[in-house]
Symmetry: C2
Subunit: 377 residues, 2 copies
Amino acid sequence: MSADTRFRVLYRLLADSPEDARQRALGIALEQTVEIPGDIVPAGYISDEIVGQVETISHVAGKAYETVISFSPDSAGDEVIQLINVIFGNSSIQQNIRVTGFDPGPVIRDRFKGPRFGIKGVRARSGRARGGLISPVIKPQGSSVKQLADIAYRCTLGGADIIKDDHGLANQKMAPFAERVKAVSAAVADANAKTGGSALYFVNVTGHTGWPLDEAYQAKEAGAGGVLLMPGLMGFGVVQALARDPSFDLPIMTHPSFTGPYVLTPETGVSHALMYGMFQRLAGSDISVFPNVGGRFGFSVEECLSIASACRDMDGIGRPMMPSPGGGMSVERASDMVSMYGEDVVFLLGGSLLRAGDAIGDAVRAMRDAVDGLTAD
Amino acid sequence: MSADTRFRVLYRLLADSPEDARQRALGIALEQTVEIPGDIVPAGYISDEIVGQVETISHVAGKAYETVISFSPDSAGDEVIQLINVIFGNSSIQQNIRVTGFDPGPVIRDRFKGPRFGIKGVRARSGRARGGLISPVIKPQGSSVKQLADIAYRCTLGGADIIKDDHGLANQKMAPFAERVKAVSAAVADANAKTGGSALYFVNVTGHTGWPLDEAYQAKEAGAGGVLLMPGLMGFGVVQALARDPSFDLPIMTHPSFTGPYVLTPETGVSHALMYGMFQRLAGSDISVFPNVGGRFGFSVEECLSIASACRDMDGIGRPMMPSPGGGMSVERASDMVSMYGEDVVFLLGGSLLRAGDAIGDAVRAMRDAVDGLTAD
């Protein structure tokens, strides 16, 4: 490939023959751009630049083929929504096409700056220079603001780096958004004052006011240390808008809710690395949560490592970001998890932590010690 | 079931045994609400009200089971994002669980008003009291504002009810949003003045300014007759925010881009009727676009009819809305399509319409006549 300006997408597809594979690839190239039959594409700029160009088609095995199609940055503009629309909007509705790779090329790389904070920035804000970060989740839904704030307080005293809202905390009457954010922020600040630490409270923002950006700002005003967003339910545009907003200036954590169907079947959707790594980073998330191996979800070691790698790849878009495996972490498994993920990782501690009751701070401390004991000097 | 306040979700799941099915159902009930192990759920309000309740489990065939789980409206609050989060957020990431039904119950039905316009409202605004609506799409991406406006003008003269932006028109330099919206709105208004009609121009809104609501208002100011939104890329919250905003007052059309993986495999995701019918209507869309049978996508007649039925069901949430099958429509097929969908439908006319070149208005007129000729007096 020449050092041109186009971005490239790798698709895996099933086809009945090499000719069928070629027709399917040409179909994607049209569908994702002009969405008109090939024989009536206007000559000139549209046919030469805008229409996707099938660069390679190769046979993998059986009915499986891979094709690289290049697209013009002009198609995407500078919006992550439109970029993903070009990568896989309508073709996502075709059977047996899966996106397995993405090369942004120089222009998209320049337009999409990615995470504002990334690994270094999150470490600086949380005061954790070395080793894996520990992030207990405050829950369950249905608890009062006071109960959630109490859990956050205890976890912060126990050595948490990040206090994360459960993604099921929205603006329900049991713990309304504004009240919850103020009380939990204050609780974390109080505990930080005692420990001398700087644990960050990440507020789940869902947009009950009509626009998530407003709530993100409300959270910031109330003393939040970051926001939690769910791109599967809200789109990646919200992540991009906040990551680009110069006055927002808080790290962003993204949660995988409602994204499962994209990755669960091998012949449709997108790869794990794309959904939980590249797309997150492209949009500007600093910490990407995904279901860890060994938890309630069926991701494999290889899938989890592919996500972590996409999050941290030095050649990725913008700054490397933190992978955040959720579930499957315990004191007993800490050694395996640190071996698997290394240091630049945020370990989510989920519901089983609540088993400790009022001693939840001790449970966090035990995890903190386990991870720290495994961090090389 | 008693006439209680809860909403109910029907899940299809695969399990190895009746006991395994029961465990999976209980797992969903916890996962979608408290997200903590069942044995540490706090007694009282949380265990009695918040935790999902498995109401029935039945064996379908082989490994397939169906379960009805009820949830508290307190879990969802009044946000469509949080409601979908409760219906299927994390469980979407489990293998072999599919949402196949949704019964809102009285409280959710009261909180979610659905479409502002619905079928009657769209008919009133577009001046089409009877028969299927015709909606040509202006494209291709890469065209200038002048070219797009010219196509819109000709199609309006030809008898289009709705002029729809291609979903690939965002804010690219070839046809920047503000300029495009003004020029196309003016072209449609000019043609309306000639025909005495009231064709509506639906503007594709993607949120390049950081927030789609701003752009929707810009579109309205410029004379747009409606907006086109892509919930697969932007979430359903944007649809809800605009449908609820009393001062916005334009109909909303939704496009299926990037939603394919939810429906393509029978054992994961959600049913076609839910994705392109119930969820759209719940959020407040007035017209739901989906890939028609016989076009480039593989939806079956049964799947398309299930979508149309969910859109128009008199017992659904709020007002019945317009199904809008895209692709697969031609003068030759008009009779079949009208037989299949009846009158309350918006037929999208896609890329092949451009084959007519400058005579595109005649092509629209031919379709108009074909559909009108089939409308019962």
